[in-house]
Symmetry: C2
Subunit: 221 residues, 2 copies
C-alpha cells in the first residue's frame, strides 16, 4: 500500500480537468494526470477505475447529498420545498468548486461519449430524487415529475453558469430558472424579442378551460 | 435493388419489437427479424444500420414532427402554447402505435445500452424543441427550460402510459402531468399520502418573497 497522500482525490480531479482542457480528453493519459498531480499511477487507480470516471466521481457525491437534503427537509414540507433544499445543496457544492466545474463542462461538451455519460448521471440523479420524495409519501407522478423538473432546472442553470460571461452564484441562476418556469406556466413569455427592446406581453390568467380552448384538440397542456 | 415491399419499414419495426420482447434484444438477430417480417436481410439493411436503430428510427420522426409543430404554432402563441402543439403531436404519434410503443419501452427498460441511447434521443428532442422556440424569438433560458420541461412531461407521461394498468389516451396523461406540474409550482402537493385518504392541504399563494422566506438561505426555488 502506498503512503497516504493529502487530498489525492481532489488533486487528481483538478489535474485531470486541466489536462483535458489543455490537450483534449482522448489525448491525455493516466500517467500524465498522475504526474501533474504529483502522485503515482498506483494512487490514481486506488481512487478511480479509469480516466473517464475522474470526471464523474463528483456526481455520486452530488446525488447522495441532494437525496439526503430531500430526506432531511422538515415534515410537511411540500415536494417542491423538499426539492428546493436539494437544489440549494447542489448550488453550494457547485459554487465550492466553480473553476473545476467549468473545466469539466468544457471537456464533456466536446466529447459525445462523455455527454452520454453525463445524461446517464443526470437520469440517475432524477431517480434518486424521486425515490427520496416517495419516501416522504409523495405520490408517484408527483415524485417523478418534481425530480425531472429539478434536474431540468439544474441542467439549464449549470449550462448558463458555465457558459455565461458573468460569474454569478449558482443559487441566483437557479432562482432565475424557476422564475422563468413560473412565468411559463402562467402563460407569459410569448415571443419576447432577444434585443434590448421588449414588447410588453399581456399577462394571462392561467385557466385550464382557457388553455384547452387555446390549444388544438387534445392539447397536452 | 430488391423489389418494392409494401410498408417494409413498419413491418420490420413491429417484427423487431415483438422478437425483442419474446427473446430479449441481445439474443435476436437481424436474420430472425427479417424472417418474421417476411422480408430479406438486404431489405432490413436498406432501412436500418443495425438492430438497435430499429428501436430508434421513430424518434427521428417524433423529433421532426414536434419541432415542426412548434414552428407551425400561430404568431404570438406563448412558448408554452407552441410547445403544447408539439406535445399534442407526440401524443397523436404515440397513440397511433400504442402496442409497439409499449413493447419498445419494455425492451429499452431491460437494457442499459438502450436506456442510454433513449436518453440521448430525448436530449436531442429537447435541443430540437429549444431551437424551434428560438426561431420564434423566444429568449435562450426560456427556450431551453420550456424544451426541458416538455421532455420531462413527455418522459413521465410515457412511463405511466406504458407501465400503467389502464389504457388511456396519451393526451390525457400529458394533461395529468401538467396539472401536477402546475400544482407543484403553486406549492401544493405536500406529503400527500398514497392511500385513499387524502389529507387536505392548505393552498398556498405562490409568492417569491414567501418562497424565499420558506427555503434555506440561497434557496433555489
Amino acid at each position: 500500500m502506498g503512503r497516504w497522500e493529502p487530498n489525492a482525490r481532489g488533486r487528481l480531479e483538478r489535474a485531470a480537468a486541466e489536462l483535458y482542457v489543455e490537450r483534449g480528453f482522448e489525448r491525455t493519459t493516466v500517467a500524465e494526470i498522475s504526474r501533474r498531480a504529483g502522485l503515482t499511477e498506483r494512487t490514481f487507480f486506488r481512487h478511480f477505475t479509469d480516466k473517464r470516471e475522474v470526471l464523474f466521481a463528483g456526481s455520486v457525491t452530488l446525488e447522495e447529498q441532494c437525496a439526503g437534503a430531500v430526506a432531511a427537509a422538515p415534515d410537511g414540507a411540500s415536494p417542491m420545498d423538499a426539492t428546493a433544499a436539494a437544489l440549494s445543496t447542489a448550488a453550494r457544492l457547485l459554487d465550492e468548486s466553480g473553476e473545476h466545474v467549468r473545466q469539466r463542462r468544457t471537456v464533456i461538451d466536446a466529447n459525445a461519449e462523455l455527454r452520454e455519460r453525463e445524461l446517464v448521471k443526470l437520469a440517475s440523479l432524477s431517480l434518486a430524487l424521486a425515490e427520496a420524495l416517495r419516501r416522504r409519501d409523495v405520490d408517484d407522478p408527483t415524485a417523478e415529475l418534481t425530480a425531472e423538473i429539478a434536474v431540468a432546472v439544474l441542467k439549464v442553470a449549470v449550462g448558463r453558469w458555465t457558459n455565461g460571461p458573468v460569474e454569478r452564484p449558482m443559487g441566483e441562476l437557479l432562482d432565475d430558472c424557476l422564475d422563468v418556469l413560473r412565468a411559463l406556466l402562467a402563460g407569459r413569455g410569448a415571443g419576447q424579442p432577444r434585443g434590448p427592446v421588449r414588447r410588453r406581453v399581456a399577462w394571462r390568467v392561467p385557466s385550464r378551460s382557457r388553455a384547452r380552448a387555446l390549444g388544438p384538440p387534445g392539447s397536452a397542456w
